[in-house]
């Protein structure tokens, strides 16, 4: 490169004049183009491209306590408005959703607290959020009954985690539930590490009942061809990752296995790449695996997902406007007789 090539785009200073909408603020961030502001503005652009691309399937990978912190309705609304096509998440994410769907709550708390006293009161802490043990115990009881009902209905069939998620969603009535929204919109929710959550211990409770005739069976491998098929049938794929861990790896691995590679990628994380862990791995690094294409529109935003993700969603929803209606590519394919799900 020549020297002048490095000096093409001057930083435009952020100007706050009067009231700004979220997207107007993001445009100011884009003008700056620097540090976290520049990355956040780019994340809005990449997500907008994903949803406007009529041949792109949008994956949302969720880890961390996004539901306890208050992002449940944001995600359920994205599902209902077809701005995500597939969710891949931790078991805990959907356990937290089920807790609220069945009448429980997460409470604003503090990280400056006597944790031994919390233990004595049977209150669990997620940083500065509190959740009472009884909310877990009540879902243990209620979901164990649902497990029995599902097993009886499916008559010994081995379910994949996405089939399991829809069976739960069908039985939850709360309109703000992600599980319910996904069932209604027929958006698959893959929970690859389903047993690493309360769902696993509920299964233990359910299977422990004497003379239990109908024990629910989940098949961890059944979902692998299902998610790979979604990737391979989509001309283009995009992922939005909150956190990382198993959900991010599952989406990226499906992209490798189906020999597609992501065309769009937004990762929101606080993790660092130096440890070699996947959650902090850079998108540049993912290119070496073929998980994300070299030419993909991609950006990693280093920040608290609870701040960053709602800003991205608000900005993109504002850009799309109220008249925007998206029919997912795979839904159109299915309508044309080309889909298997």
């Amino acid at each position: 490169m020549r020297r002048d090539d490095y000096l093409q785009k001057p930083v435009k200073h952020i100007k706050i004049s009067g009231a700004l909408t979220v997207d107007q603020l993001m445009q100011q961030f884009r003008n700056s183009g620097s540090f976290g502001a520049g990355r956040l503005a780019k994340a809005c652009d990449v997500y907008e491209k994903m949803v406007r691309d009529e041949e792109c399937t949008v994956f949302l990978a969720l880890s961390g306590a996004v539901v306890p912190a208050g992002m449940r309705a944001v995600i359920a609304d994205l599902v209902r408005s077809r701005l995500v096509d597939v969710i891949v998440c931790t078991g805990a994410t959907m356990v937290h959703d089920a807790i609220e769907a069945l009448g429980g709550h997460h409470y604003k708390g503090s990280w400056v607290v006597d944790d031994e006293e919390l233990f004595k009161y049977h209150i669990f802490r997620i940083y500065d959020i509190f959740v009472p043990e009884e909310d877990y115990v009540r879902i243990d009881y209620q979901l164990a009954e649902m497990y029995r009902e599902i097993a009886a209905k499916r008559k010994g069939e081995r379910l994949s985690s996405d089939e399991f998620a829809w069976e739960l969603g069908k039985r939850l009535k709360d309109p703000n539930s992600i599980l319910r929204a996904a069932y209604e919109a027929q958006v698959p929710i893959f929970i690859p590490a389903v047993r690493d959550s309360e769902f696993g211990f509920i299964h233990w409770l359910h299977a422990s009942q004497e003379n239990q005739k109908d024990v629910l069976v989940l098949d961890a491998f059944k979902e692998v061809p299902r998610i790979c098929e979604i990737c391979s049938k989509s001309p283009r794929n995009g992922m939005i990752v909150i956190g990382g861990g198993v959900p991010r790896n599952t989406v990226q691995s499906a992209a490798i296995a189906s020999k597609t590679g992501m065309d769009y990628a937004v990762v929101v994380t606080m993790d660092r790449p130096e440890t070699g862990g996947l959650s902090g791995s850079t998108l540049k690094e993912t290119v070496s695996w073929g998980k994300v294409k070299g030419e993909a529109d991609k950006v990693m935003v280093i920040g608290d997902a609870l701040i960053v993700f709602p800003l991205i969603v608000a900005s993109v929803v504002e850009r799309l406007g109220s008249g925007f209606a998206r029919v997912p590519y795979l839904r159109r394919l299915q309508a044309d007789g080309g889909g298997s799900k």
């Binding site: 233990f119 004595k120 009161y121 009472p132 009884e134 409770l205 422990s208 009942q209």
Partner: protein
């Protein structure tokens, strides 16, 4: 365990309605109603490994309920 043997200080106790009701997984496994009184007890009782306030608070609540009745 100064309070004696109660569901609320049994090692298998899970909170159902603080502090008066517990969920007993042992009873659930036996297809019995798993919701029990914190101040109840049965032959399967095992000492709790880490103390909580359930029994203390349940006894306090029980006492105030009883004294309320006398008033």
């Amino acid at each position: 365990m100064s309070e004696g043997r109660f569901c609320g200080n049994c090692d298998g106790h899970n909170l159902y309605e603080y502090p008066m009701k517990m969920f007993c997984s042992k009873r659930y496994a036996k297809n019995k109603d798993p919701i029990v009184d914190t101040l109840g007890c049965c032959d399967d009782w095992e000492p709790v490994t880490q103390e909580c306030y359930c029994v203390r608070e349940a006894l306090k609540q029980q006492k105030s309920k009883d004294s309320g009745r006398r008033d």
